[in-house]
Symmetry: C2
């Protein structure tokens, strides 16, 4: 009447069905004799989210082949894993129980999320029925991710006799989600009187990071075990007569640490899973590129990071020296390339065309784009992915140059508001200066014309970020934001800028979702928009 | 027992709820006395697709205000229009019947498409019930777009006594869709013995073009009326004892013409609805930019188009002269700006960094990106939207430079395969040369190194486009494409290129969907992809 359940919190590769199957089989080989049941994340075989790969008929063939191989390895240990499956001509999001060499049972996900970043109704039909299997005298039910956010699937499993619910997840990170998720599952476990084994995916996939933190709550809602966040783990929990015994309780992470770890995981996986091993970035002496450099070094190692500063006539000497100092402190390859020759060449080439006009944002953009060309040339020549350094506040209002500072393969700070950039920089410096204090203290400037400051064009960041959180993340109207205490003309201007700059965001590189609502698949706005 | 139905095939503005309501009221004022019922397209008030604007609570307030205003105008004429509506805490896609100053009835869309470009399950819950109203002794049922692609909603309306079905649509264009759509609806009308009045939206919204072509089929499946394609119209159909009388039958358009008209409509609306009146584009002497120029001129007028050729050391003199000749023939502003000074400046700036390495794609990309900077500078300085000229074949395999020739606000040919580019060019020349014949006849080249030809890097376009159609549009596997007669090494290389270049497409400007499966919201692939 006791059994050992392993929570296989692993980092999978979307689309690599054969490779993910090998991970499952390796895990089974390694844990056979130690664990009686191994539980894997949602859609183990395809990774999550597989998107339109699911629509390729050959995807189903590969899943079927993988399942046969895995079933053959399911001897002496029960494997519970996720995959898409067409049954009766209809595609379901399935959790299969593989035991004694066969697929013994399949549970079909009931609640299919189709909001935020999720599109599961595009691919799947909902299931309806509980699935319960017995092992070592204990009755196990199955659910998949969104299912446990609703009463019905849990209730059905409990009614069908489940003492322990094995819940397979691919639950993406945002700030505070881990605490929220655990509290919700604990509540449901207590209400329906079932133990829940919650196994989450870990690692980055395009704009999403899965934060792990798999856990076990008993039927009174007590957390008995919690795995680490943002790393792979295979933890074992002993279940006796349906009651989980206490295991390790890894701590929740603080505000800044959880975001920073998400940025590391997202950056590391995006770079590596796309076949790159190193990155290059522009280091301006400003806070965004300074934090991006720290993330890149922490994620990939100093040897795999190259920093380039690209001064112009408008660059303060303090910017150059702070950039150089940080690069040296962090031990990364560093060079400085003036953009003046190219900038002058373009001004000459366009002098006839532009004769009779005064300087405007055109000349500022040319500078930013000259930097984009230099960085992309280094990226192309050396096979290093270019990281772009813009933050969410800039992306929101379009305070960035398309094909200039927005150029790059990945944007680690894309969903990080400016005030949080500062908090993360201070947090990263907590054990010693990594980002020069002066970079944190200086008023931010794009340095694209003489004596430029961000505050010439934008409200102070506390005001800007406050308005953006209400408008973008909470869908508040102009009226409501004004009622919250912001000046109407500023609210009107900022919300208009957000709407009008959708076209820039549509051409931005991917970045890591860390807020409740990121740009990209999470917030789907029209470009042509008369709202 | 007779009534006059107006098919209001109009071009709406997504998000501009007050403006769209004014269009409806204007139409009611104008047609009162001429028409008894006016039928508008699906989601008339928000335009289609409104995407996440639907999630803003203020959207519902604006719709409610607009409905009150429109209801007040609904006297002496019945208005049937579409809007989102929260009823009992749930959002539906609704067709409302406004008569005698009130909203008399509301039908809730039953079939919510959630495939291809559609995400309606993200926003709406399905309705279940038929709605039938009587006017002049005739019983009218309601359905919305996808509903008539299924039997059930039509059957329910017929069972509820509907003689005439008013179907509100926002049905986006792809090649051949108009014929397919009409045949399907005619079949359903005949099977259920109802007349169908099919009113479609017209005009462009981001990557979609709605082609109009509204029609009426009688209960035997005979088409009695067809409105023009790609233009606004308000046509009247007389219905006597449930039987529609014959009206005008605008012709279907031929293959090339329908695509060309879609490209015009999409380009015109994207430019104008974003507040621009003019465009600039790079004219290389090649076929893609030649066709894009013709589209721009036909869509916006020669006065609103500026062409720039940007030769380098690798540009053939024939390219320059063909570009100049076409610009003159079409009467657009034209200039030539050599990129050599900027190209040389970059080579000098990077000479230390790149010392010891040979030339590769890096130097090719620098040239393309210098052109991108010149064009964006002209775009910025003059407030002209930059059109980018790449086609679907290039976008598929990544034969284009990010931030170089891919730079721009809109990509008219983004979904047009290269062979179709040629067909469209020949079709556009049918009444006299617009695109110099030599441009059509020359072997295509990117001219980024000496004696370069597309065929150095890519299979011939008939092979490339054949493979791409099978892989991208039909989801065929490598095995199936090889079985269709293509050489395995080429199939493997091309399909791998498609997968690996998703990152480029993700940063591409929007363009017009004309095939069954366009890149963008239509084909959602992961960037990190081990498939």
């Amino acid at each position: 009447m006791s059994t050992r359940v392993a929570l296989a919190q692993i980092n999978l590769m979307v689309g690599d069905i054969a490779g993910n199957a090998r991970r499952v089989i390796d895990c089974a080989e390694r844990l056979r004799g130690t664990a009686d049941i191994i539980v894997f994340p949602e859609l183990t075989l395809t990774g999550y989210p597989p998107e339109d790969l699911l629509l390729r008929p050959v995807c189903d063939l590969r899943v079927a082949t993988a399942l046969r191989d895995i079933a053959a390895a399911a001897t002496g240990v029960t494997l519970v894993l996720g995959y898409p499956a067409i049954r009766g001509g209809v595609r379901y999001n399935v959790a299969g129980v593989l035991r004694d060499g066969v697929v013994e049972a399949e549970y079909r996900k009931i609640q299919l999320p189709n909001y935020s970043v999720f599109d599961e109704r595009r691919y799947f039909e909902p299931g309806a029925n509980a699935v319960v299997f017995e092992q070592d005298g204990i009755r196990f039910g199955l659910t998949i991710c969104e299912d446990v956010w609703f009463d019905m699937p849990v209730q059905r499993a409990a009614s069908a006799g489940a003492q322990v619910l094995l819940n397979l997840n691919a639950s993406p990170f945002h700030q505070g989600k881990a605490v929220e998720r655990e509290a919700l599952v604990a509540d449901r476990a207590a209400r329906f009187g079932v133990t829940v084994v919650y196994v989450n995916l870990v690692g980055g996939q395009d704009e999403l990071v899965f934060d792990g933190g798999s856990f076990v709550v008993d039927a009174r809602g007590q957390v008995k075990h919690r795995a680490a966040f943002f790393e792979e783990s295979e933890s074992l929990v002993l279940i006796e007569r349906g009651i989980p015994q206490s295991g390790a309780l890894q701590p929740f992470l603080g505000d800044e640490e959880q975001v920073y770890r998400a940025l590391l995981a997202g950056t590391r996986d995006y770079v590596a899973k796309n076949g790159f091993s190193s990155v290059v970035l522009g280091l301006s002496g400003g806070i965004d590129s300074a934090l991006t450099l720290a993330i890149a070094v922490d994620a990939l190692g100093a040897d795999n990071v190259e920093a380039v500063s690209m001064p112009s006539r408008y660059t303060a000497e303090i910017s150059n020296s702070d950039a150089r100092r940080q690069a040296q402190q962090m031990g990364v390859a560093y060079q400085s390339i003036s953009i003046e020759p190219a900038f002058n060449a373009f001004l000459d080439m366009l002098s006839d065309t532009f004769s009779g006009t005064g300087p405007d944002v055109t000349e500022e953009n040319i500078q930013a784009r000259c930097r984009g060309i230099v960085l992309m040339a280094i990226s192309n020549k050396r096979g290093r992915m270019l990281l772009t350094t813009g933050n969410k506040s800039e992306m929101s209002v379009g305070y960035a140059t398309l094909y200039g500072d927005m150029a790059g393969g990945f944007a680690p700070l894309k969903d990080v508001p400016k005030l949080l950039v500062y908090r993360l920089a201070r947090w990263r410096n907590r054990n010693g200066e990594v980002i020069p204090q002066r970079v944190i203290d200086r008023p931010p400037s794009a340095e694209l014309r003489a004596d430029q400051k961000d505050s010439d064009s934008l409200p102070d960041y506390p005001v800007l970020d406050g308005i953006l959180a209400l408008y973008v993340e909470q869908d508040k109207s102009v009226e409501e934001i004004v009622a919250a205490g912001y000046a109407r003309p500023i609210v009107e201007r900022i919300t208009r800028l957000v709407d009008r700059n959708e076209y820039k965001r549509r051409q931005a590189p991917p970045g890591i979702k860390i807020t409740r609502r990121a740009y990209g698949r999470d917030r789907r706005y029209p470009i042509v928009n008369g709202f």
